[in-house]
Structures are given as C-alpha cells and as structure tokens.
Amino acid sequence: MRLNVRGLRDLDWVIVTLAVVIAALGMIQIYTATHETRWYNAWWRQAVYIGMGIGGMLAMSRADYHSLIGKSMPLFVIANVLLVVVLVVGTTVFGSRRWINIAGFHFQVSEFAKLVIILLVARYLTSTKNDTLQVRELLKIGGLVVIPMLLVMRQPDLGTALTYLPILGSGILLAGLRNRHLAVLAIAAVVTPVLAYHFALKPYQRSRVDSFLDPESDPHGSGYQVIQSKIAVGSGRLFGTQKGMQTQLRFLPVPHTDFIFATYAEEHGFVGVVVILGLYFLLIMQIVHNAQTAPDRAGTLVCMGVAALLLFHLLVNVGMVVGHMPITGIPLPLMSAGGSSTISMFLMLGLVQNVRLQRFVH
C-alpha cells in the first residue's frame, strides 16, 4: 500500500462532512416520515447502511483507482452476469425484480453497476487518441453501456437504467465530440424517447409519463403521487409545517424512499429546501473541483462520472417531487432509505477521495 496515515489527513473532509450531514438529515427525515408507520425502524437500518457506507468509502479511498480501472472489464462482465442472475432468481417487489438476497440483505445489483460503469467509461475514454471522440470509439463505449441498461430495463427499472446515461454523457463531454456527432446525438436524444414511449415502454411506465404530462387528468391513478407530492411540498410554504406531518404523509406512498424530499420540503419549507439543495450543490462542486485537480485524465473522468450521476439523481428525484419530472422511481442519493443506493453512493465518493489522494502520491 502506498497510502498510509497521511492519507487520512489528506482526505477531502469537505466531501466527507457534506455527505455525512446530508445522510444524517436524511436519516432524521426517514425517522419523522415513517414514525408510527409500518416502516418505523427504517431509520435505524438506514443508520447501519450509512455506517457501512462510510466504511466502504474509507476502504475505497485507500485503493488505487488506476488498478480498479484496469480491472473494469472483468468487473463489468461480473456485473452483467449478476444482472442476468437478478432477472432469473431476484426478489420481486412492486412488480419488478431488482434484488438478490444475500445473507439476509437485499442487494440491488443495478446500484452497484453504476460504480462499474464509471470505471469502464473512464477506462475507455482515457485511451482515446484524439482530442475528440471518433465515431467508432463512441459506438463502442455506447454499446457497452447499453448492455447493463437493457438488462436493468428488463427488471423493469427504467429509472435506474437511465442513470447510466449521464455517466456516459459526462465522459463524452469530457472526451470531446465533434459538432456533427453532437447533432446526431441530440436528434437521437429527442427521437429515442418518442420511439421508446410507443414501442419500448410498459403500460405502467407509459402511464407514468402520461401522468407526468398531465397529473390532474387522472388524480386517483398514476397522477396521484405527483399531486400528493406537490401538495406536500406546497403546504410546506416558507418555513415548513409540523401539522402537515400528520395530515399529508399518509397520502404519500412510501414516504421514506423516493419521496423523502417531498416530506422534507413539507416539514422544513422553502428555507429547508434551499439549505439542503445548497449542501448538494457544494458537494457536487467539490467533486468537480477534485475532477479538475485530478492527477490524470482517468481521475477526472471518474470524478466527473460521479458528479454527473449525482446531479442526474438530484434532477430526476427532486424534479419529480415538484412535478417537473416524471415519476421514475430513482432514489435521492444519501437521503432516501435504501441500503444499496446509500452504500454505492458512499463507495463512489470513496472513488473521488481516491482520486484526490493520488495527487499526493508524487
């Protein structure tokens, strides 16, 4: 090991602090949101996950990301095999197979696959020759990322599958792209959703999109969650409400996972929202800062991948809470209850720490 005690001191404590504060706020929110419901012990389990996550982060910071990138291809193969396994023997919850049960823990492979994809993208895009990506390289990396996406979509879990895209996107952004290719991609970005809507989406996914486009059209069906979420947020007003806790939460299905931010916004109001979004913003900015000061291009790619992933999660989850985004069922990193997403997020932050610590190696 090249890293020693010095490493601890050189950790990016801003990231650690921000992540822990956000996670702690999330845990408190889980407690109040599930208080006196059947998920009443979720906060305690979340505390355990956070502890495990922090441990994982420290462990990850000690590895060398270069060696991880070097092993990214075998890891990628393993991840895809596991995703296939999930489809075969996974636990079904809410009509989708996402988890495999290992020693009593529900393990969501698709969450950890993000980590692998970050490494894979970093690996492929560091080895490009030119300042801009060639079509062949683009197709190659794109094709690779599409494999786990399709597997995850089969579960079906469109939201998580989509989170792989920003990783790829940030990589492509960093690697550079010709205008011509950019235009093609832009057209694809517009056309694909339309085609997907008509041919690839399952009816429940289609109705989610429908309800996103017009939530009031079906207030008791798919639009229900959007409306209830908006009501919860709106009744938070400037400083939040305590009364709402009793009245509104029961209208929100699973208030402690995907809609944790709605309950937070209700309870803490606009002020609380600004505070926590500020924390996330600083976290992302700090990760980007690490990307900029990374010792090499691979480090930059890893950090940017994490930042892009985090940003995408925020955009989709928080956007969903205020009705700006369709309900895709992706969690809010660090806040939503859930072992896999919490731990994998901390592991990714560990990767960022790793990149940072590599600066001091030479």
Partner: protein, 361 residues
C-alpha cells in the same frame, strides 16, 4: 485545504446576496407583512433630498424673475396659495350644489359641509416603479393617517396608502387599486370609479337604464366612506350601454390634468364632523355615511334604484287601474260595463312614477 466557496468568492457572494433578497421577498409575500423599517429609512433618507432639488428649481426660477431674497414673502406666498386652493375648492363645491339644488337649501347645508380641516402638501416624488404612486411631504407628524383623501382644487388626486413620520404615500386615482364612490351631477346616478393604470378611469355599477351624459361632471358620492361627498372627479368621456345590465362609462380625472405639485390632504371629512369615538381600525379611518339621498333635492325622487324594478305585468296592471279610474269603474262590482279597448289617459307624474323599460337580456 481548498474549498469551492473560497475559490469562487464572487459567485458565492452573489448567490448569498440574491438568496437573502429572495428570502426577503418570500417573507413579504408569505406573511403579507411589509418590511416597514426599510421603507421608513428610504423615505426619510431620500425624500428630504428632493427638497434640495425643489430648492434648486425654485431658486433658478427665482433668479430669472429677479429673486427678492425675502423668505417671508415666499412663505406668505405659499400660505396664500394654499388658501386660494382651498377657496377654489369651496367655490367649486358651491357651484355644483347651485347647479342642482335650490339656493336656500344649499346655503343652509353649506356650513355643515364645509371642509373643516385640510392641510396643504407638496408632492416630493413619485414611486420608483411604474405604478401610480406619489409621495407627499406630510406624514403622521402632521396628523396624516391612512385612507385620507388627497385632492387639488381641480379634483380628486388619490388616497393615502402609506404613512411615514414626515412623508406619506399616495395612490393616485388612476392606479388599478384605486376605487371611489361617484355621483353624477345631472341625474344623481351612483356608481363606483376604478382606476385602470392608464390615463382614464372607468365607472362601474351604473345600470343601463340610468342616465349618464358624455361631458357630464362626476363627483364623489361619499358612499365609499373615504371621500367626502361633493369633490369633483372629472368629466365623462364615454358612456354607452353594456352587455350585462351595466353601462360602460369612462372618465377623465380632472385632478391630474395640470400636473401634480401642491395638493390638499383632507384631514376631516366634509359631509359630517369626525365621530367622537376612536376609529375602529387603528390605522384606517372610516368616514360616516353621507347624508340621505333625500336631501339632494327633487331630482333624486325620480331616480330609480335597484330593487324597485318592475316587469310588464306591473305595467299592464297599472294600465287597467288607470282605465278603471278613468271610467269610474270598480272592478268586480256591478255597474256599467267597462270598455278596455280604449287607451287610458297617461299617468300623472306624482301619482305613478314611470316604470323603466325592463332591460333586455
């Protein structure tokens, strides 16, 4: 240790300052509370400086005229101007009364209606946004309170909406938040004037069957309990039948036509003295209701008020009543056979007021 915040000091400060102001805005909207302290500072800080500009303006004008340097004369002049303004107003008031009612009655009424107390004020500045708001140099120290009428001899200017120690904010008659009760000069038609945000005001709630003429003067009616009765508002510019029962009436406010410089704030209402008991709301003032319509003279008896509208049935009934009266026929009793085929004599005015045409729907 490097940190994003310290590296991007400028952006951070910008974001903080913007966020602080957003919160300020949010607080005001949410709690419907005004941040009065900021306004008080700004008004008391800025408004005195406008005097400086006035001073410069007056002095330059004074130099051209051969500035005498006698401050007393100037003060005296100012007092006299206020007096002239007041007299002009009274004159105006009297003229309108004379135009409609008989002389003796007006003379008897006049003393009790005379504006008992007013205070001259100088317009020091207008609002900094596009709304129709001005500031005047009299405030709570001079006895000004919210909702007091602001007038010039030519007409109503506006109403006090914000009071600071030495200055007040006046919402002008043309502002969209302004409304006042009006009465027409010729037919004593009541309505409600509303500002439109531009140079004309509209008058609402005048029924299609009521008579308003273009060019006619409108006055405050006192119904709004803010403006005393009888202040000129302006001349009717347009009056035409509207779709749903009510006319479209537009008015050019007379109080603003000559530009704003000196105004009068009416500290006490004119149609009655201030009541002994304290006003119900600490900041707002409510005038007592204006005297009953009956005192307006014979004209008012002919005005048909809402609520006594009639239908054809009443007219037919009335027609047969007149036929009966004309032929000396008692309905349902014996005697000669009546002839209903002839038209009855027209009604005599005092006995039966003419029923209005039922408004078409």
């Amino acid at each position: 240790m490097e940190f994003t915040l310290s590296r991007y000091r400028n952006v951070t400060v910008l974001v903080l300052v913007l966020a602080a102001q957003l919160f300020l805005l949010a607080y005001q909207i949410k709690s419907r509370q005004d941040v009065r302290s900021i306004r008080v500072w700004a008004v008391t800080g800025v408004m005195p400086l406008t005097r400086l500009l006035d001073f410069l303006h007056d002095n330059t004008v004074g130099l051209i005229k051969g500035y005498s340097g006698l401050m007393e004369v100037k003060d005296k002049n100012k007092d006299l101007q206020a007096e002239v303004a007041k007299l002009k107003m009274e004159n105006n008031f009297l003229r309108t009364e004379l135009a409609t009612a008989d002389r003796a009655k007006v003379l008897a009424l006049f003393p009790s209606r005379l504006p008992s107390k007013s205070i001259a004020a100088h317009v020091t500045g207008r609002g900094s946004d596009s709304s129709k708001v001005v500031f005047v140099d009299r405030g709570s120290n001079d006895g000004v309170s919210k909702n007091l009428p602001v007038v010039t001899p030519d007409g109503v200017v506006g109403r006090i909406t914000g009071v600071y120690p030495d200055y007040s904010q006046v919402v002008l008659i043309t502002d969209i938040n302004f409304a006042a009760g009006v009465i027409s000069q010729k037919h004593r038609v009541h309505g409600t004037l509303k500002g439109q945000g531009n140079s004309v005001c509209t008058v609402d709630y005048i029924r299609n069957e009521e008579k308003v003429e273009v060019g006619e003067w409108l006055f405050t009616s006192g119904d709004d309990r803010i403006f005393p009765k009888g202040l000129p508002l302006g001349q009717v510019k347009l009056a035409r039948a509207g779709k749903m029962f009510f006319q479209e009436v537009q008015l050019v406010p007379s109080g603003l036509q000559l530009g704003l410089e000196e105004v009068l704030i009416l500290l006490e209402g004119v149609h009655q003295p201030i009541p002994d008991h304290a006003p119900p709301s600490a900041s707002a003032k409510l005038l007592p209701p204006p005297p009953a319509e009956g005192s307006d003279g014979p004209d008012s008896a002919r005005v048909i008020r809402g609520g006594v509208a009639t239908t054809d049935a009443d007219q037919v009934l009335d027609r047969y009543r007149r036929i009966g009266a004309a032929q000396g026929h008692a309905y349902g009793s014996g005697g000669g056979t009546p002839n209903f085929a002839i038209d009855p004599p027209p009604p005599r005015p005092p006995a039966a007021p003419p029923a209005p045409e039922t408004p078409p729907q």
